[in-house]
């Protein structure tokens, strides 16, 4: 019986030849394949508000971040790099967008947190997703305090520390204070920190109003302040709300009658007010006209002006520094693995010997000097509003002392 053997589809000779050819082509192709993998862009998430009152500040934070990437040659670790910008509509929406950035856009780190309420939610998600999160704006103490975690780094000086820095400048106004603070994390934090300060100094609270966010009319608040006759107003209203308050304060003939002091003003807030109505004493992290700015920051300010045709606001600088430290840390780590990035961030140093900045290991808080600025008596340039009254602390060696130990604010990082 004749059994027909099935016809071979490929002979042994052909198989060998094919394997050799594939190998040869593979050898030729490998460098290109390898290069293609290397050329895959490194993605960094940008989680900043695109709408709402805080969007004006967020625009500058984003511009600063993009400029930092340009300065870095649009590459990180020698590979092309890009920023992927998602909105921060609300605490819950921000958490969802952070998840999308990590799981869908495949970013290796996230820059953002324009509002304290959003940042507090985002940092919890960062810990859950194990992704480095560099908070470039929010100032609520809890971010690097009770809620701290090893994935979150925060640039802005915590409210409680700013209060300590600001105290010597405002105590001279008198000890009868009127508190006007926003009814959310940032404002509540300000009220708590400054009330503790005032109580220790033996002062009196003559009024204490918690203001809803996006209040369009302050006339009734101003009438209350007028009736209370305080020595000073301690403000804690953010962004556009502060601008609206200052406009109406002037409109009601109160400018110059009672001093207004507030921490963490954004330059965009005061630029929105206009020269007629602007007034007050504030803390800030950076001012483009500060004569003490080191050369690389002066260069940044010049590049910003050239690119965007307007001066760099403090928020632009904050976006720039936060992004720069992250990009340089990833370069130093030679890896996009979260643990390697975190280690490199903890070792990163910026600034100059007189004005250094770095991320503290114990709570990932950036230690840096703050400015105390006052609105000029007469404003002649539509951008140049402030006189720098001082840098706090004067000596960089005192930074640790001024910021206090991480555990002072309740941070127990594991």
């Amino acid at each position: 019986m004749l059994v027909r053997r099935p016809a071979k589809l490929v002979t042994r000779r052909q198989a060998l030849l094919g394997a050799a050819t594939f190998g040869a082509v593979g050898q030729l192709g490998m460098p290109y394949i390898a290069n293609a993998a290397a050329a895959e862009p490194i993605k960094i998430g940008l989680l900043l508000a695109k709408t709402g009152d805080i969007a004006a500040q967020a625009e500058y934070l984003a511009n600063g971040s993009y400029l930092a990437l340009e300065e870095h040659g649009n590459t990180i670790m020698g590979r092309p790099a890009e920023l992927v910008w998602y909105d921060e509509p609300s605490p819950q929406g921000s958490q969802q967008n952070m998840q999308k950035l990590v799981q869908e856009a495949k970013v290796c780190a996230v820059l953002g947190g324009s509002l304290s309420s959003n940042a507090l939610a985002e940092q919890a998600t960062a810990a859950q997703l194990k992704i480095p999160f560099v908070c470039n704006n929010a100032a609520a103490t809890a971010i690097t305090g009770a809620n701290c975690n090893r994935y979150t780094f925060r640039l802005n000086t915590p409210v409680a520390v700013q209060a300590t820095m600001f105290a010597p400048y405002i105590m001279g106004y008198g000890k009868k204070w009127y508190f006007l603070t926003a009814a959310f994390a940032f404002g509540q934090d300000i009220a708590k920190s400054f009330k503790e300060l005032l109580t220790r100094a033996g002062g009196t609270i003559v009024g204490d109003d918690s203001v809803p966010l996006n209040t369009p009319d302050y006339s009734s608040f101003i009438l209350k302040i007028r009736q209370a006759k305080p020595d000073m107003i301690l403000g804690g209203v953010p962004a556009g709300d502060l601008s609206t308050f200052l406009k109406q304060w002037n409109e009601m003939g109160m400018k110059g009658k009672i001093p207004i002091c507030e921490i963490a003003i954004g330059d965009t807030d005061i630029w929105s007010v206009g020269p007629d109505a602007a007034t007050g004493l504030y803390t800030s992290l950076w001012w483009y006209q500060n004569p003490n700015n080191p050369p690389d920051e002066q260069k940044f300010a010049a590049q910003y002006l050239k690119k965007y045709n307007k001066p760099a606001a403090d928020k632009a600088w904050m976006g720039w520094v936060a992004a720069k430290s992250l990009f340089e840390s990833i370069d130093a780590a030679k890896s996009t693995e979260p643990d390697a990035i975190i280690k490199a961030m903890e070792d990163w140093k910026g600034g100059t010997a007189e004005s250094p900045y770095s991320w503290r290991k114990g709570d990932h808080q950036m230690l840096l000097k703050n400015l105390v600025v006052e609105v000029k008596p007469k404003i002649t340039d539509k951008w140049d509003y402030f006189d720098v009254k001082g840098m706090v602390p004067k000596d960089a060696a005192d930074l640790d002392k001024v910021f206090g130990a991480p555990t002072d604010a309740g941070c127990h990082m594991t």
Binding site: T51, P212, T215, S219, L223, K224, G240, E251, G253, A277
Partner: protein
Amino acid sequence: MLDVLLSQVAAGLVLGGLYVMIAIGLSIIFGLLGIVNFAHGNFFALGAYFALTLVQNFGWPAVILAPVLVGIVGMVAERLLIRQLYDKEPLISLIVTFALALMIEALLRLIYGGIGQPFSQPPMFTGIYLWGPVLITKYRLAVFIFTVIVLIGLWALMQFTPFGRILRAGSRDPEMVGLLGIRLPRVLTAVFGLGCALAGVAGVLAAPLWTVTPSMSTNAIMPAFVVVTIGGLGSFAGAVIAGLMVGVVTALTIQFQPDAANAMMYVFMAVILLLRPRGLLGERWERFE
């Protein structure tokens, strides 16, 4: 204490006047066209930005053109977009006007940037009046008086002119008005333009008080909806009374419970709707039942 209350009531009435000015256009558009215009706050913002540009380039007298320009933009929007919605589900008009709102805000952000624009009151209205405990600024008093004049003019337009009669008839029975040979589509375009122009007037008046930003519409649209709902949808007089009441309620809440100032107008709305489900002066309209 009476001094304090008097002072706050006066501040509340002035604020209420501004709320009336914002809400009245929304009320007219809903009452006559049946459209819930979610973009109304953005026409308000547009008024502020047009005023800003006109004042910067041509001085204060040119500000009068700002509401006219907003009205023209409104009429263009009606011809291109809103007209398609008259015989559609109310939900569609909400979605489309919401999209229009987002588009206007994005355009403003693109042209002017996200940062607020400085804008102060005209120099002639700088200063305050002090009558006993009542403090009122010259500008706010001028805003209040101007609002009253505009409202009287609007009421006269509706009551005593052929255009007003067509509007009132068209809002009740558009088919009958059409059968009488009146070209209703043109009238509807004019109505939408008028409603937007009124939002523009409110924007111009608010610009020296509020921060002029692309998102300023958010602070205008919610009080406007609350005022229209409390007053009774489509009721002119209702919107006026409700606006003043919301202003006073807000001011008094600031005096006693400041953190609830914004929320209180919603509580007030809920109470009114529980007592009068159609609002203070709302009537039964066959078209909307």
